[in-house]
Symmetry: C2
Subunit: 542 residues, 2 copies
C-alpha cells in the first residue's frame, strides 16, 4: 500500500469506529464522563484553573484557522480540551459566582441532556419529532397557564390545535422578544382591503397604507438591549425604541409613559408596543404592569412583558403578586435557562390570544404544510432541538412548590444580603432587591457621609473615583477566581440621575450560602486596599 | 408537624438532593444512560416503538396544562418519559430513515454534549464563556477559511479582533440566513450624511433617504422558505423575495436573473441581495455561483449563498469544485448540524469582509461594552450555549479527510441509488443527484411509457393519480416504522413545469448500506399493492 492509501484506510477505520463503537468506560472521555456524573462540582473545581489567564494568551491556543488534515484520537483531543479549554472556562455553577444569571443545574439535567442529544429530534416538524411536538405544546400550555390562568376548557381547546399556538419555544430571550414584537408588528399592520399586510408587502407600503410616519416601542430606560436589537431587525429602527425614565425604584414612570403616548400619537407615530419589564437585567425591578396595561388599553396597542429573567417568580404563590398585571399582557417572554434551572438555550414566548401567531405563519412544500401541527410554522427559527423535554422534566421533577422554594430562597437571600450591605460602614446599597438581584458598591469609610453633604461637582468627582475603584475591585476579584460579581452602570436618582458604576449580584444559585456572601464582601474590602491609586485619592478627601 | 410542613420538608429535601447528589449508576436514569453510552442504536431500537401511534392519541398523553403540585422522583419520571415520549419519538439516526437531513452522530458527541451542558457556558460574553469565546472565533475562522481560503495573515489579523467578526454562530440555518440578510440590508442602507442609517432610523426613512420604492431579494424558485421568513422579519415583505425560474437541473436561470435585475432597477427597486443556493433542500442542486457572482458584481449588490446543507461539501477536495464561486459570496450560511454530524442547534454564517458585521453591532452597559471581545455584540441571539465546542471537536477528531470520506460516500451512494432507480421498471427518477439528495417516485409498469406519449391533459390526470399513490406509499411506509423517506412537490420541466409529488431521500447517514436502499424500494413496491384505489385506477388506463 502507498502512504496515501494507508492514510485513507486509517481514516476510514477511524470513521467507522466513531460512528459505531461507544467510548469505553476506561477511555479518557469515559473517565471524564464518570467524573462529571459522580461529582460535577468536584470535576469543575479540579479542572477549571482558578487564576485567570489573559485572554490574549488563551487566544494563542485557538489561533489556527486550518481544519486539521489528520484525524485525532478522541482521548488525545479530550486531553487537549481539558488542558486548553475546560481549564480556562468559567465556573458558572459555583455558589460564589454570583454575578450572572447562569446558576447550578440539578443533576438529572446532565444525563437527560445526553438522552436529548442521542435522540437528536428536530422540532421544526412532526416527521422529525413526533411525540416531542405534543410535549412542546404542553410545555407552552403550562407556561401560558402559569401566566394567564385561563380555564381547563381553554387549554383543551387550543393547546394542540393545528392552526393556533399558545407561544413559541426558542433559543433564548432575545429571539423570544423579537418574536413577540414581530407578531405585534404584523398584527398592527395587518391586511386591510387591497393591502395584503406587512408580512407580504413590507413596512414601507404598510406605513403608507396606514398613513403614518413611523412606529414606536415604549419601554423604561432599564429595558433589555434586545429590544433595540429587535427594532433594528424588524426594520423599525433603534430610535423607535423610546426609553421612558424610571422612578427611584427603577420602575417606569407611568405619567411620563402616558404623556409620550399622547405626544407620539399626535405626531402620527403608531405605538407598536408598550413593553413592561418584569425583572430588569440590571436592577431586578418590576414595572407597574397593571397601570401599563391600562395605558396600552387606552391606546389600543400591544402590551408585551419581558419577564425573561423574573417570570419564574410566577411559580411562587408567595411572590407572584409582584408581577400582578402580567396576565393582561398580549405576550410574555420567559427564559427557562435563567430561573428555571434548565441549561442554556431555552427561551419561551407565550401569547394571550392563541390566534396571534397566525400573523407570522409560514408554510413550505416539504414541511409545515397547511393544517399540519408542525411547530415550525409559528417560530422564528427553523430546525430546533428538543430542549422542551428538559423544561418538561424539570417542571415534573421539581414541581411548582419546589420552584417556589428556590424562588423564595433567592428573594430572601437577596434581602438578607441587602441588609448586611446597608449595615456595613464600607458598602452602599444602590438598588434595593425586589427579586434576587441587587446592586451595590464599595465606599470607603467616611466617604458616604462626605458624598451625602457634597456639592454636585464634588459628588461627581467622588463618584468618578468610586467608579474606578469599583471596576478595579470587580476585575481583580474575577481574576483571582475565588468569586465573581458583575458590574454595570445605572442612573441613580439620589445622585441627580448620574450614571454610577456598581457591583451587580444575582442570587439564584441554591447552593450560595450566607457565609459565601460575607466572604464576597470581605474579599472586596481586602481588594480595595490593593488599589494604589483610587483608594488613597479618596481617603485624601476626608 | 402539619401535613403542609411535612410536604414542605420533603420538597426541600428533594431539592437539595437533585442539586447535590448525582444519579446513582443503578437508578433508572443511570441505567438509561449506561444503555445509551454502550449502545445507542440498541437503546433507540428497543425503546422507540416501530408502529406509529396516531398523533391525536399521543396528544392525550400530553394534555395537562397544570404544572404539577408534587415533585416526582427522577426514576418515576424517567419511566414516564420512556413510556410516553421516547417510545413515540423518531429514530432520526436509523440508517433506513433516509428522508431527512438529520443523521447518525459520532459516539464521542454524546459524552461531549454532557460536558457542554455541565459547563453551561454562555457565549454572549467572555465573563460567562472565557476560553469558549476564542474557541468559537477559531471555529468561525476555520469555516471562513474553508469557504474563502484567505491567507494566514488574514486570519492572524482578524480572527480574534474585537471590532471584527468573521461570522456568527447561531442556532441554525434560518437565523444564519436572517443574520446575513440583516447585515446586507444595514450595509445597503447605511448612514449617509444626515441620515443615521437604517439600524437607527428604520426602513421607512431609509427608503425615503435613498429615494427608492422598495427592496428585492432574488433567489431561485428552489430557495429555502427561511428567506421569505427573513424578508418578513426584516420588514421587506415576502413579496420582495423574487423567485427566479430554474432550468431542468433545478439551477437558477441566470438569463432570467439578469433580466429581472434590470427590470427592478429600472423600477426604482434596490436589489438587497442575490441569493445562491448550494444544495437546495428539495433537490440538492447547486446554483451557478460564479455567474451569479458576476451579476451581483454588475449590480453592486450583496451576494449571499445559502449552503446550509451543501456547504460541508467544501470539505471534499474531490467535490468542492461543485461549489465554485462560493468564495465570491459576501456571506455564506452553513449548518454544522446537517452534514457536519453535530447535534441540532449549530448554524453558522461567515462574512467575506470582517467588517461587515459592524452594520449590526450592539452594545449595552453590563455586557458587550465597546472594545470588548464579547461575541454577543455581533449575533442576533443573546445568550447561547457552547455548541462551538462540538464543532471544534468534530473538526479535530474527524478531520478534513474524514469529512471528505463521509461527503464522498454520500454523493456516491446517491449516484448508486439513482442508477438503480433509473434501471428499475417501476420507479422514475425525478431529480438527478448532484450531492447526496435525490427525488423519485413509484410509477407502475407501463405507466411511464403511457406518460411519455400522453397529451397534456392525460399527463395531468396520470400525475394526479400518481401523486395520490406517492402520498399513500410515503405515509404508509412512515407508519410502518421500518424505514422513512420524505415527500415534497416540485415543478418538473418534462411535465411542462407541473408540480409533481415525489419521494425525497438524503443519503448522509454513513451507516446506510446499499442493501437498505434496495429494501426501501422493495417495501414501496409492496405498499403500492396495498393501495386499493389509486393503483387499480392507474392500471385501468393501460
Amino acid at each position: 500500500m502507498t502512504t496515501g492509501k494507508r492514510k485513507a484506510k486509517a481514516t476510514q477505520e477511524a470513521l467507522h469506529r466513531i460512528f459505531t463503537i461507544p467510548e469505553a468506560p476506561e477511555s479518557t472521555l469515559g473517565l471524564i464522563e464518570k467524573e462529571i456524573s459522580e461529582n460535577l462540582a468536584g470535576f469543575l473545581g479540579n479542572h477549571i484553573v482558578a487564576t485567570e489567564k489573559p485572554l490574549t494568551e488563551i487566544e494563542q491556543d485557538f489561533a489556527s484557522s486550518q481544519i486539521p488534515e489528520e484525524p485525532e484520537f478522541v482521548s488525545d483531543h479530550m486531553h487537549h480540551l481539558l488542558d486548553k479549554l475546560i481549564s480556562q472556562s468559567v465556573h458558572t455553577s459555583s455558589p460564589s459566582f454570583i454575578g450572572h444569571m447562569t446558576s447550578a443545574l440539578p443533576y438529572f439535567i446532565l444525563p437527560l441532556s445526553k438522552l436529548m442529544v442521542g435522540l437528536n429530534q428536530n422540532l421544526v416538524k412532526i416527521e422529525t419529532s413526533k411525540a416531542f411536538t405534543p410535549l412542546e405544546r404542553q410545555v407552552l400550555g403550562m407556561i401560558h397557564r402559569l401566566v394567564y390562568r385561563d380555564d381547563e376548557d381553554f387549554y383543551q381547546r387550543w393547546m394542540h390545535s393545528a392552526n393556533h399556538s399558545l407561544g413559541a419555544f426558542c433559543s433564548g430571550g432575545t429571539v423570544a422578544n423579537l418574536t413577540a414584537l414581530w407578531v405585534a408588528r404584523n398584527n398592527l399592520l395587518r391586511p386591510d382591503g387591497e393591502f395584503k399586510g406587512i408580512a407580504r408587502e413590507g413596512l414601507f407600503k404598510a406605513l403608507k397604507h396606514y398613513d403614518c410616519d413611523g412606529l414606536a416601542i415604549l419601554v423604561s430606560e432599564r429595558g433589555h438591549y434586545s429590544l433595540k436589537k429587535s427594532a433594528d431587525v424588524l426594520g423599525i429602527g433603534q430610535e423607535s425604541v423610546i426609553a421612558i425614565p424610571t422612578d427611584e425604584n427603577n420602575r417606569i414612570d407611568c405619567q411620563l409613559l402616558r404623556e409620550k403616548c399622547r405626544e407620539l400619537t399626535a405626531n402620527r407615530i403608531k405605538i407598536l408596543s408598550i413593553v413592561g419589564v418584569a425583572g430588569t437585567t440590571e436592577t431586578g425591578n418590576i414595572d407597574p404592569l397593571n397601570e401599563m396595561a391600562d395605558i396600552a388599553g387606552e391606546y389600543g396597542c400591544h402590551f408585551h412583558v419581558d419577564a425573561a429573567w423574573g417570570g419564574a417568580t410566577l411559580l411562587s404563590e408567595k411572590y407572584r403578586h409582584l408581577l400582578d398585571g402580567i396576565e393582561r399582557a398580549d405576550s410574555v417572554t420567559i427564559d427557562a435557562h435563567k430561573q428555571m434551572y434548565v441549561p442554556m438555550g431555552a427561551g419561551l414566548v407565550v401569547f394571550k390570544n392563541p390566534s396571534s401567531v397566525t400573523a407570522i405563519e409560514h408554510h413550505a412544500e416539504y414541511i409545515l404544510r397547511k393544517g399540519s401541527k408542525d411547530l415550525g410554522s409559528h417560530t422564528l427559527e427553523g430546525s430546533r432541538p428538543g430542549m422542551a423535554m428538559l423544561v418538561y422534566a424539570s417542571l415534573h421533577i421539581i414541581s411548582r412548590p419546589g420552584y417556589e422554594m428556590l424562588i423564595n430562597q433567592g428573594i430572601e437571600k437577596a434581602a438578607y444580603f441587602a441588609g448586611i450591605i446597608k449595615q456595613h460602614p464600607e458598602f452602599e446599597l444602590i438598588s434595593e432587591p425586589e427579586l434576587c438581584l441587587l446592586t451595590y458598591r464599595y465606599v470607603p469609610k467616611g466617604i458616604q457621609e462626605l458624598l451625602a453633604n457634597a456639592s454636585d461637582e464634588q459628588q461627581q468627582e467622588i463618584n468618578g473615583l468610586l467608579a474606578k475603584l469599583t471596576k478595579f475591585i470587580q476585575k481583580r476579584q474575577r481574576e483571582n477566581g475565588k468569586s465573581f460579581v458583575s458590574r454595570t452602570r445605572i442612573e441613580v436618582s439620589r445622585y441627580g440621575g448620574e450614571k454610577i458604576l456598581v457591583f451587580r449580584v444575582v442570587l439564584a444559585n441554591p447552593l450560595t450560602s450566607e457565609a459565601i456572601l460575607h466572604d464576597v464582601l470581605q474579599e472586596q474590602i481586602e481588594l480595595a486596599q490593593e488599589s494604589e491609586n483610587f483608594l488613597p485619592q479618596l481617603q485624601a478627601m476626608l
